[in-house]
Symmetry: C4
Subunit: 444 residues, 4 copies
Amino acid sequence: MIHLESRIKKCWDLTVLVVTIGTALVIPFSVVFKNTGEPVPILLTFLSTIVFIVDMFVSFNTSFIYQGKNIEDKREVARRYLRGWFTIDLIAALPLGIILTFLLTPEGSAVHLVRVLALIKLFHVGKTMQRIGGTNVNPAILRLSLLVFWILLAAHVASCGWIFLNETPVGTQNYERYIRAFYWTITTITTIGYGDITPEGPRQTLYVIFIEILGAGMYGLVIGNIANLIANIDVAKTQYKEKLDKINTFLKYRNIPVDQQRKINDYYNYLWESRRGYDESSVLADLPGPLKQSVLLFLNKEIIEKVPIFEAAGEDLIKDIIVNMEPVVFTPGDYIVRAGEVGFDMYFISRGRVDVMSADETARYATLTAGQFFGEIALLLSMPRTATIKATEYCDLYRLDKETFDGILTRYPDFMKNIQATADARRAEIDARTQAAKKTKQKD
Amino acid sequence: MIHLESRIKKCWDLTVLVVTIGTALVIPFSVVFKNTGEPVPILLTFLSTIVFIVDMFVSFNTSFIYQGKNIEDKREVARRYLRGWFTIDLIAALPLGIILTFLLTPEGSAVHLVRVLALIKLFHVGKTMQRIGGTNVNPAILRLSLLVFWILLAAHVASCGWIFLNETPVGTQNYERYIRAFYWTITTITTIGYGDITPEGPRQTLYVIFIEILGAGMYGLVIGNIANLIANIDVAKTQYKEKLDKINTFLKYRNIPVDQQRKINDYYNYLWESRRGYDESSVLADLPGPLKQSVLLFLNKEIIEKVPIFEAAGEDLIKDIIVNMEPVVFTPGDYIVRAGEVGFDMYFISRGRVDVMSADETARYATLTAGQFFGEIALLLSMPRTATIKATEYCDLYRLDKETFDGILTRYPDFMKNIQATADARRAEIDARTQAAKKTKQKD
Amino acid sequence: MIHLESRIKKCWDLTVLVVTIGTALVIPFSVVFKNTGEPVPILLTFLSTIVFIVDMFVSFNTSFIYQGKNIEDKREVARRYLRGWFTIDLIAALPLGIILTFLLTPEGSAVHLVRVLALIKLFHVGKTMQRIGGTNVNPAILRLSLLVFWILLAAHVASCGWIFLNETPVGTQNYERYIRAFYWTITTITTIGYGDITPEGPRQTLYVIFIEILGAGMYGLVIGNIANLIANIDVAKTQYKEKLDKINTFLKYRNIPVDQQRKINDYYNYLWESRRGYDESSVLADLPGPLKQSVLLFLNKEIIEKVPIFEAAGEDLIKDIIVNMEPVVFTPGDYIVRAGEVGFDMYFISRGRVDVMSADETARYATLTAGQFFGEIALLLSMPRTATIKATEYCDLYRLDKETFDGILTRYPDFMKNIQATADARRAEIDARTQAAKKTKQKD
Amino acid sequence: MIHLESRIKKCWDLTVLVVTIGTALVIPFSVVFKNTGEPVPILLTFLSTIVFIVDMFVSFNTSFIYQGKNIEDKREVARRYLRGWFTIDLIAALPLGIILTFLLTPEGSAVHLVRVLALIKLFHVGKTMQRIGGTNVNPAILRLSLLVFWILLAAHVASCGWIFLNETPVGTQNYERYIRAFYWTITTITTIGYGDITPEGPRQTLYVIFIEILGAGMYGLVIGNIANLIANIDVAKTQYKEKLDKINTFLKYRNIPVDQQRKINDYYNYLWESRRGYDESSVLADLPGPLKQSVLLFLNKEIIEKVPIFEAAGEDLIKDIIVNMEPVVFTPGDYIVRAGEVGFDMYFISRGRVDVMSADETARYATLTAGQFFGEIALLLSMPRTATIKATEYCDLYRLDKETFDGILTRYPDFMKNIQATADARRAEIDARTQAAKKTKQKD
């Protein structure tokens, strides 16, 4: 039993595809030019008949997938095939071309038209290409490609039909006649219509009417498909742009001062530059728990490795913290923490730079950058913030709120001590600095 | 009184539709070629007049639907009809063709143009097709079909108009002239414009300008409709593809390792293959309670029949459990339950395979597959999970959380005992295995 | 001061619009055919110059709206006008045509081309039409109409240009030449291109290239607008259809039994027929409180008038109940209430029919229809439902849950007594029936 | 090291862009007309070769941006460039034109075709224009502009190709031949196809087929892009219109009285006129806290400055109140507060006018307008509303609910006293009025 999605089945499908298309190209050409005696068409006729017969055997031995399960039962497979593609495959596999060749039917007799039946195998093309393309190809692009393929094939058949309906001019070569016919078909299908080749007599006129309606419909399909494709290009950037336009119209309509408008635009530009409009949490929302955890772990690996107190933390603790951190953005000049307020959050800096300052913003104690953290003192000691912290550039921070923080601390007693030690050390340092600052002031 | 949606009314509407279209095709032809004496047009003229008169009687006796109610009051029906379609139907039913036939008006006199009035009946076509198509036909497809119908009819009328404006060439047959005129119309409407047939004199030129504007507008409508149709093809797959593209762009932009990227892609492929991107809960969200319950019951019948302890459960209990189960997906290698953790959930396996292992993953106690369940021990005994359970392939599980579980148990005391017995047996078995494992270790 | 949105201003704008369009049509015609001496163009030249000058005075005296406020300050109005449309209006109002007429400049001199400057007034057309159309016209339709207007006007100007570039053939009338030129323009713009009229010499060729690019772009705009319009036709029905398609695909994919599939389809059909896919609550969600209340009051007036116990209720009570009722739908055969269950809801029937039955469904106590209510007993007495109630057709009910019910009762003590009395009476009646049923059974 | 986004780099990019386009225009022209000896092409050939070589040096010294960071490491830059654009830039910079000029190769030899290789530099155009346009240009418009640019350039090249394939007619000037060829190309690409210039011989025919397919595809792209652009024009107004249509269909379908329908339409018109369909809260929802606060502060500055009791309030208090106020709209005639009801809200009037009246609406105590506030009495004293307040026109109010109000009062004790004083004064005033009213009544 051959598995439907095995490599060998795909190769075979590709072979059948190539032979089918080859046949579809050669048969109309061969019928119209009555070149039944030439070697290439005869060979291809033999080849295609053999390949199509073998393909039927292959189909009887290929499993199929039903509701995600691979069905390999031979009788099930046969029943499904007999009900489905069997008839079409059988007609395509009839050795009409071979029989006609052996019967040496007079060239140009209408009997040869029967060979066009083999083109029925073309119905497989869409399915096969979809199966080979799989889920990796954008369905809109696949559809447009298939459409172009069908149009070119139809143009080929229409050209042969046009040759069939026109008298043979003496002394013109077959390939020249075909090029002229194909030129006429394309000129018509693209709705250009030069008018240097026009129909004569009712038979040709009716044929042209048919091709025109077909061609115009096809061209409409092409334009519709292209419009659909374009509507889905660059959706992320278009949406971001629309959002920004909307907010700017609002700001202008309400006469918001220009510097505030510029600040808001800068903020959105930063969002776009730094994350291409993707919102981390919404992108990851659909993933099942373990996958989401591992992505978040990777994304924040860097910052966790940088924070000294996490060196001693176990993997479980890190996962707990990571899943519970909330990403926030601050723009330059925003106050993240104000001295004297009672704080509820601790922050990890992922990107950017903040200033730690005294309450009156006269003294700058420190500048913290990516990989550092702050705000843990107030959380531990239930006292007001001891310093003001201000963003000096765009900052991506991760916020850890008190509730989660307390929950995590109780679950990991070892880590609790670690944090406590760091907090004590930092408080001592700040006290010392404040003392020093006071002394300096007294001196002044 | 005939019911508006009865079978007989639909058949009659179809008859009127066919006669109307037939009349619309024959009258312009007949007027232009002045073949008033031929039998087919005369017969059709008689037939259409009779049918249109009968249709008026039918309309007076057909109920109508107002705000979901069927109104059968004769006076209401008459008033509504007189205010609405009556005038149009009356004009269409005027026996102008019959009168002209009897008067033996000279052929080709402009008087015959008056017969074109019967085409007013065509206004019914859209409504009738919509009523026959009902809610089963996609409105976009119905609109496109109607448009193509109108275009072909307009092309027919435009062709007759073109013949009317051109001198009769001697010796050409009517059908040949019609084919040439129709060829010219189609060539113009499809914007191909070969230019082998062009207008002469102001009258023809003005006519061509009119047809060109009309044709270009129609072609625009066709393309617009096709674009609209295509935009709604395969929406589910396109949306799924877009989502996957978005997540992949994000993963690449943030440099997530390739194996994690592959894992996430595999997960989405599994989702698509197993449920075509449909989210069970969102699809069923709009259904009223009882319908939703019966669908869910059917969907999970299989698994419930497989779980042994449900054999004794009544229908009400099963419904209670089914409505409260939450579908979850695990990818290969995910831990579903970890030994030592305190568990809150019980799981039913709908599809896939999980391994029950010791805490250190050295010993594999069992492999559970579709129709089996686990996790009930910790729920019953308020003790840590006794084993680690890991998905070995993609698993569709149904989760039953402790709260619902407890609620259900208290409501169904019989079932409570059943579950308790199963839990006790399983614990005994695990204890025995652990003992055996210890002994084996001691021996080693 | 004239108010911007006054009737008189709109009439004046319409006059200016008509004169502008008339001028735009006549001037190019007049310039090309050098018929400076004829009365109609001269009159129109005078008229347009006068109207345009008056329009400038009007503009200086028309208030404008800024952020919803009507500004009538004369200096503000003048400043705004001088900064905005003034220059354009001034150029359009220059009496160039009058001067040239008085100067009796030789016909056909290039100097006359300067008169085309008056066409600058056309820039007003879009604004004016938008102001007259107001918010009542669909913006997509307005845009398409304006586009068609511009295209026809451009075609007129392009035709005049074509005449200008071609030698005057001897003996052809002006109107014939114009028709031929207009025919050429339309044939080109619609991309038909018969090719019976083609350019000669570089000057004409360059002109044709320009018109072709313009025409193709315009045609693209028309198609784009039409596609956009079509995408917004019948959105409600399309969305409903898509939803139904989605649910049907799901049902088929999961092999839900055919009768359940039919039941679900029937349910959606009922929803569509009875409320055209509108969800009452979502449509009314945006309305401010009082407006919403009055709409709901009107919608449910009927049912409230039918319920006997509401006869004594005051308007405030009715409003309270109406705002707190929740619409629900039951399909035929659904159980609304089951005997023995503890009930929490009372129901008002808005449409449909339900059967009140004994617990074993053997005895049918009553059939309730639109305007009746049930379920109040269990609410009042905290006892299990005394009867089973089953929908026999599609039912639109309004549900009143216990919490709201209790809240309302405490706030309206009079009404409380009323409800209590009804409940007591009904309970007595049911008891009597049950007794009678028991006796009948005992007899059997 | 040059910064990628520096002004100098942008200028250089613009220079390269202009030279590239110039080269792309001149080279095909020059090759086809074999005018190798003329000065302009030779100069441009030299110039472009030099510019392209310099550009390679510039590229080796330009930093690049990777994940929001500016990379200036020379080796990193070189590695990135060598892997990327280097090969293309090298081919474009090959001095083929110069060599051929010096070798004095015979004019018209096929060797000159090699110079077309310099056109490979055009691959840069899209990137460069995107970088210069930045995030300020709508991506849909940028894409359409680029497309038109590419189409015109392709038309230029196709025209040169057409000249190349046609024999030189004796006595025609180069520029005339070019215009005819360009005319043919545009006529074909826009699918007009006059047919006055048609191919002869297989070589020309094949070339025409190629151009036709290309042109039709390009035209499809143009239409698709235009359709996409139009779909995004005026989205706000279209959505507003659709919403209004939907609600109107619902109102008509449910037979809501005409005056209620008009009232609802007026309400939506007011919303559109006063805020262009923007919902303040949804527009500001995405902004980070501090930015949002400053916008709201600015928007409500006016009203806060008008309310007397806020004069004494600190900035923090004002921010607290502003962030917690909820915007509400009342239509004319709506009751905002009813005498006797227990109130929970205080209101600030932002726009509009309300009447303060006695419970029976006989006496009008006051009329309040923008900048005034009411409803604080009931909040402070836990007593029923002392007056009825009714909107007399459309009112934009800000509501402050009791919970927030109490929270704010406790946090700002100074402000609490202020409010209390105002409330006491107002109560005294109302009492006095009521007394006076009673006395007047007693007198009557």
